[in-house]
Amino acid sequence: MTSLLATVAIPDLLVFLLGALLCLVGAVSILTVKNPVHAALSLVMTLFGIAVLFIELQADFLAAVQIIVYAGAIVVLFLFVIMFLGVDREEDLAVEPIVGQRPLAAVLITALMASIVALGLVGHFEVGPATQTGMLHGGAGNVADLGRSVFTTYLFAFEATAGLLIIAVVGAVVLARRNNPDDHVAESQVEELA
């Protein structure tokens, strides 16, 4: 770890620390704020921090996608659902559905974090920041590189993704469509269960 720090230039280190701080503060406040809308906005902060880290790793395109898709579209979707369902007020989080759930979660999360840090210390990385593994293709265009690999190395994965998206759409339509005349049966059953 010391050798890793020694090779990182001071500006890089500062940007990394800033990005990491953004991520962590955002992530912690998602859990601590009471208002679900504020939690969704904290998520934007985390996602923005990840975008900063992507830039630090010279993944400019991913950083842009991160902002547009995640911080933009997905968080808007979250907010939409929160407001649509009318849960934009304080929820009572004091009740624990399972006794001892929270302390256990704290212990497990600490163990998980410790093991991730330990992995960073003892693991061998084949990939890593440019300061470790050298510039990506001499620092040439990110978009061009990605575009090339999508149509060469990852051509099949690219096409399979198209198939996956079709199935996701079909699935959503099948689940959302309710033109079956017998649907009231299902609803009455749900009420019975409740």
């Binding site: 693991g123 051509l155 099948v174």
Partner: protein
Amino acid sequence: MNHLALPTVSYAALAPILFLLLGGVALMVLSALSRRPLAAGTVTGYSVLIGFGALISALAEYGHVNGAGPSSTVASAIAVDGFSAAIAVTVSVVVILASLLSHGYLRRMQIDAPAYHVLALTSASGAIIMAAANDLVVLFLGLEILSIALYVLAALNRRSAKSEEAALKYFILGGFSSAIFLFGIAFTYGATGSTNLQVITRTLGEGVAAKPGLLLAGLGLLLVGFFFKVAAVPFHLWTPDVYEGAPTPVTGFMAAAAKVGGFAALLRVLLTAMPQLSTNWTPVVYSVAVATLIGGAVLMVVQRDAKRMLAYSSINHAGFLLVGIVAATSAGISADLFYLFTYSVTALATFGIVTMLAGPRDDDAGIDRLSGLARRHPAIGAAMAILLLAQAGVPFTTGFIAKFSVIEAVVGHGSIPLAIIAMASAAVAVFAYLRLVATLYRTEDIATVDLGYDDSLTDGPAAFAIGLSVVVTIFFGIFPAALLDFGRTAVAHLLP
């Protein structure tokens, strides 16, 4: 720099995948464009034809590989080898049988037939992609194509709240396991610098084992993802609930397709990409196999519902398949291939019979309900008895040969204790199977149970598929040589 060298694509090798995936998409478009809803019979026939197309192209690929040897295509993202061809054959057979078994059910329950068939066909293509994937990214996409279609299929019975509950449970837990699996891929990539299985094994051969922390974490997370998918103990908790709640023909399809895809990918990743780490993964797979064998068999005995009992039976079968992985020899892999094929056929047909018996609303598969069934409907009773005995591993059925060859492989590898545990668990499971068979042939309750579902008992296509499965189960139980050789040849042409 402007010229982009596109990778060469062997469409013949991809044909089984293309048949199922494009067949599903084409059916979707057709059903959307047609003015009137497509007739259920047309859709089932179409689906069976697509299954046959995939089967023939998979057999052709198998024949081609036998002559030309294993290779890879589309920039080595897809393995063209005997193993993937054999799995493609299995999945195609599953598609054909599942289409026939679901036909009457979809009509009775007034479920939109094209929706079921589109999802089943694409889901099956995901299983083949998983088996043929030579790259962890492709493997993950196959896993998701398989899973997402299955989540929706599990929710297809709108009249049952249990079906929706099962789908939600499967979706949430499946989403978590996919995320864990993806973390495993990311860690493995970080440790080896590639997601391609050949490059990974080459990197491991050069020895990154000095500081293997990240690599082992990746391996561990990958294993958790796989164990969830194939329902191994202790990652099985979703299985009984989902199997019970999902529409019964879907349960059968899920039990066959998800297990085939999951085990095929697990075998390929462990034995071709990470054989160097076998000292690390063998103890894990060994202990999970022991837990799965014992857990599946013991919990099966205490079930009061046929679908839940069969869910635990499928968990017990997963234990046997893991035994074949512990063996880690070509004998183990070919035993697993034989096991996957025969298990798929018997499990599908067993769930097909449960579909006939689960009542008009598909909500009651209690074992007591089956009491005395064989006396009222001798043919169905006999078929059920044969299929259950095959699952139990009685001689002259495929189940016996499958269990025997897996245990033979692991004994050859030197793990005698595991072989003994496997046989003991089979003995416990036999008790549960025989109890169900005895219930079928009970005499005292004949008059007391009201039938009221005669409709389902005269389901022609389903009866044909069940009859076919029984014939396959007995024929390959008595003459297994051809099928065993098929598996051995497939493994001999495994892409290294």
